[in-house]
Symmetry: C2
Subunit: 197 residues, 2 copies
């Protein structure tokens, strides 16, 4: 693709990501994306083979960018592991608050919407969830090695518990239109679950 074409493709992806995050995949028409991206109607299939391929590209791009965000917080070895985890949740809460909890978590949203409708989406989303779980698990092992967290926890199990609870708190915030459920998730997690031995 020529330079200008890559820019256009990127613009379609970025606009599509925003719209899908806000209103879901099935509910987001290609026409609206193209109109908002300022791309002529009918040129969509020049950039993507199908809406499905486009949706998968949206997921891939989001996962890649989010992975960088996760790494920047969770792999900052200047801070103790549990503080890094807490900082990650705090900045995510701030970010979710800034858009009035309208978008929630793109991967959680699409998992809810598409897990039973499209097996390719489901599998791709599950790989992303597993990678997030692995990030959390690594932090928990580090915390156990430093003696900041009880060794009786199975880190993989606890990471799954944290990931599920986090996704649930984002959903509750979305329905409540309030940070309260996420605030409660963070405070309860660190006061009750992620405690020293």
């Amino acid at each position: 693709m020529a330079m200008g074409e890559n820019v256009k493709r990127q613009e379609i992806l970025d606009v599509g990501t925003e719209l899908i995050a806000m209103q879901g995949y099935n509910n987001t028409g290609i026409e609206r994306i193209l109109r908002q991206a300022g791309v002529p109607k009918g040129s969509f299939y020049h950039y993507f083979r199908s809406k499905e391929e486009f949706g998968l590209a949206v997921i891939d791009q989001f996962a890649e960018q989010y992975d960088q965000n996760l790494r920047s917080h969770l792999q900052d070895h200047s801070l103790p592991p549990l503080l890094r985890l807490r900082n990650y949740f705090e900045q995510a809460l701030l970010h979710l608050s800034q858009c009035q909890f309208t978008k929630g978590c793109l991967v959680g949203n699409l998992g809810q919407e598409l897990a039973d409708q499209n097996e390719r989406f489901r599998q791709r989303l599950e790989v992303i969830f597993q990678s997030w779980k692995d990030h959390f698990g690594t932090i928990l092992i580090e915390a156990q090695e430093r003696g900041d967290l009880s060794a009786r926890h199975d880190p993989a199990m606890l990471a799954e518990f944290i990931l599920a609870s986090w996704e649930g708190a984002i959903l509750r915030a979305k329905v409540m239109k309030s940070p309260q459920a996420i605030r409660t998730f963070i405070d309860t997690l660190f006061a009750t679950v992620l405690t020293p031995p």
Copy 2:
């Protein structure tokens, strides 16, 4: 309405609830519901003023039935409170497994899909979530009064944490197509959070 009409209305509601649980609200067409319910096309507006009114009736019926299910487990005073709560989660896990985690939680699904699209739905769903949270909170207070649960927890906060985590575990099970996240939620909750003083 005449007797037969009530039966028809009920049939439309029941079929609609199944379809909406499996494929979402926006994705469920009235025509498909009527066809599956064996009701003549065009008679929908005899029973419901609009698709929105129908959707709200689906939510109301589900909430009422689910409240009875919750009460039958959580208010069975022949068992200690935390065991009642555990039994509730265990039977829900069994139920979700039986349909291969396709339906998830209707209220969670619709919250995810509609919280930002329709304020009437969002408010109705939030009231249901709050009532579930209150059920959990009552159990936690009972457990504290019996000395089965540490008094340092704020029962309302802990109830919110449990509700969010539970919804998140159902979402994870749906995407994973496995009971693992719910198994992990139940085991971690009772081993780590809901512990004696």
